[in-house]
């Protein structure tokens, strides 16, 4: 098992009131598996992704990646894990505005001190059909192009797991379809893919669909 989340609970405080953003959630993912999580805004999907990416600590339960309990790792090891093994694609405009597209895409590779990061970034941009935009700044790109660049950046270090938070929220149906096709291709290449989305339709090639409501995660049968 590549990713295993067992009875994960995350508490938040709203004023003096405590509530469960993630309530006893369990999830598992094997290499090459493609899963989506559906749910309304505020249902806890993004919090669950942040837990999986090691950005948030659990209040109870466990999240393991490749057999390692990520709750036991310090910030340095967690950051390295996120950089090298998890391609995390945050929601919204998640490119750094003061870097060109190619620099944005190459950045995780440069951070990991991997050789040929720029060459790999060029190849990924080419594969995603936006090679012509390599030297542009994010402000000049459309929503669909920004999402593609963000996905390219998520793939730069050949992660074992790609985690995407609402990757199609600001895209038209045609572009959304293309993005989901891209995730399918990534899963077919051997990486596990976990996508949080509002889209109610199960994407092509998707193996599992989870539903999340008020922090409770259910696997669609």
């Amino acid at each position: 098992m590549l990713l295993e989340v067992n009875q994960a609970t995350k508490l938040y405080k709203r004023g003096t009131e405590e509530f469960k953003a993630v309530d006893n959630a369990s999830l598992s993912l094997n290499p090459g598996e493609y899963a989506v999580i559906n749910g309304q805004s505020g249902s806890g999907k993004s919090t669950l992704l942040a837990i999986i990416a090691g950005l948030l600590n659990l209040d109870s339960g466990q999240a393991s990646f490749d057999g390692t309990d990520i709750g036991t790792l310090g910030d340095k090891k967690l950051s390295a894990l996120r950089n090298e093994k998890i391609g995390f694609i945050p929601q919204g405009q998640c490119l750094l505005s003061n870097f060109t597209i190619i620099d944005n895409v190459a950045l995780p590779g440069l951070l990991a001190k991997r050789k040929n990061s720029r060459e790999r970034a060029k190849a990924l941009l080419d594969r995603l059909g936006i090679a012509r935009l390599a030297n542009q700044y994010p402000a000049r790109l459309s929503g669909g192009e920004i999402r593609r660049a963000a996905i390219a950046r998520g793939l730069i270090n050949e992660p074992k797991l790609v985690v995407a938070d609402e990757p199609t929220s600001d895209l038209d149906p045609a572009n959304s379809l293309n993005i989901f096709e891209l995730f399918n291709e990534i899963a077919l290449s051997g990486a596990a893919v976990l996508v949080v989305t509002h889209e109610s339709q199960k994407p092509n090639g998707c193996h599992k669909r989870y539903l999340m409501n008020d922090g409770v995660l259910l696997l669609e049968s």
Partner: protein, 401 residues
């Protein structure tokens, strides 16, 4: 970007936010400018007082009653003054009991006329009895100036061997003194015999209030016997010689008054500098906090890509240091240039002893001002840097947060 480094990312972040970066650097510039100017100003005044303390090695100065301020003006600021004891009073005073050292000095204010090369304070002293000027005048001219010779202060135009005219007589410059920060810088020193000659010429050329005949003096410097209570001694002198119009200046009291005035002035300067530092630090801290708020999404993205919290904090501190450095350097450069250009005006207008410290001390002051300004930015950014991990994680969960 060829490779990821704190520096390259920080430089990129700074250059793409030109207005904010300029504002931050500008605040550090103002801080650096004021700190360096204030420190130089304080050091010069303190050095001036130290110089007087070292050179005014007499317990008491006796001057004609009513001329106490003139005597202090002549000694401290080189204000040309002419005031005299009658020769018979001088003889009386030179025979005072309970003194270990006693020596007369004669002050003659030169004229602003063709008869004098410059308007200065001419000081005649007796090398045989002198204990005030000889210790350092002898460094320039062993044995003191001879006939028709003069030793000049640092601010008088004329080098060794040049001829200067005072009261229609030509004097050869036998030595030139180092800067003292006192009135001595604008004084010309001759031996007492030449001073008596000069006084006669001064009278012939229309000088006022000068007694006829040899033996006049403007000031009698005294070191009392060890163990003497100076307060009682000077009180007794005032009483005993009141009919001779003798005023007594206690040099330690004079120095204490000067120090007190100086402390008040420097206290104000220090309070202003600290106030400015606190103000600048607060403004910088607020700007960094606002910047953190504005950029939390950006920091969240870095976190998502695998940048550690400590590296993000270091990035913010590096940015603040990179912004502080040009501000601190420009402030240092401009304040040094302007200060030293305006120094003659400052030294004259202060009405206090003023002496520039040596090069090493100035270098230390400049380095200190630069360092304080340089670290102010990172210090102000410290609080925001410490919060960066928490804020950035929250931002990455909420879109547009």
């Amino acid at each position: 970007m060829k490779r990821f480094s704190l520096l390259s990312i920080s430089v990129s972040n700074i250059t793409c936010r030109a207005f904010r970066s300029g504002t931050l650097a500008g605040i550090v510039f103002i801080l650096s400018f004021v700190l360096v100017c204030g420190s130089l100003f304080s050091a010069c005044l303190r050095n001036g007082i130290s110089s007087i303390d070292a050179r005014l090695g007499a317990d008491l100065l006796l001057v004609p009653s009513g001329y106490e301020q003139s005597a202090q003006g002549a000694l401290l600021r080189g204000e040309p003054s002419s005031f005299y004891f009658e020769p018979k009073t001088v003889q009386l005073l030179l025979a005072l009991p309970d003194v270990s050292e006693i020596t007369p000095q004669l002050f003659i204010a030169s004229f602003d006329s063709p008869h004098c090369s410059a308007q200065v304070q001419m000081i005649g002293y007796d090398p045989e009895t002198d204990f005030l000027l000889s210790p350092w005048l002898n460094n320039e001219v062993p044995g003191g100036p001879g006939a028709d010779e003069v030793i000049v202060g640092s601010k008088i135009n004329g080098d060794v061997g040049d001829k200067l005219t005072f009261f229609a007589r030509q004097y050869t410059v036998a030595g030139k003194l180092a800067e003292t920060g006192m009135g001595f810088d604008t004084s010309a020193f001759v031996n007492m015999d030449m001073a008596q000659v000069a006084l006669g010429e001064y009278i012939q050329l229309g000088g006022k209030d000068a007694p006829e005949g040899d033996g006049a003096a403007s000031c009698i410097a005294i070191n009392a016997n060890p163990g003497t209570n100076l307060r009682d001694y000077s009180k007794n002198l005032r009483i005993a010689y009141s009919q001779h119009r003798v005023a007594v200046i206690e040099t330690q009291t004079m120095l204490a008054d000067l120090s007190s005035n100086l402390d008040t002035l420097l206290g104000i300067v220090s309070v202003l500098a600290v106030f400015l530092w606190i103000l600048a630090s607060t403004v910088l801290a607020l700007i960094f906090a606002m910047s953190l708020n504005e950029r939390r999404r950006e920091f969240g993205i870095y976190r998502a890509l695998g940048v550690t919290k400590s590296k993000l904090a270091a990035m913010m501190l590096t940015e603040s240091a990179l912004l502080s450095a040009p501000g601190a350097f420009l402030g240092l450069a401009l304040s040094s240039v302007l200060y030293f250009m305006a120094e003659p005006l400052i030294s004259v207008s202060m009405n206090l002893p003023y002496l520039r410290p040596n090069v090493q001390d100035i270098a230390l002051i400049l380095a200190g001002g630069f360092l304080v300004s340089l670290v102010t930015g990172p210090l102000a950014a410290l609080f925001s840097a410490a919060r960066i991990g928490k804020v950035s994680t929250a931002a990455i969960i909420k879109e547009g947060a």
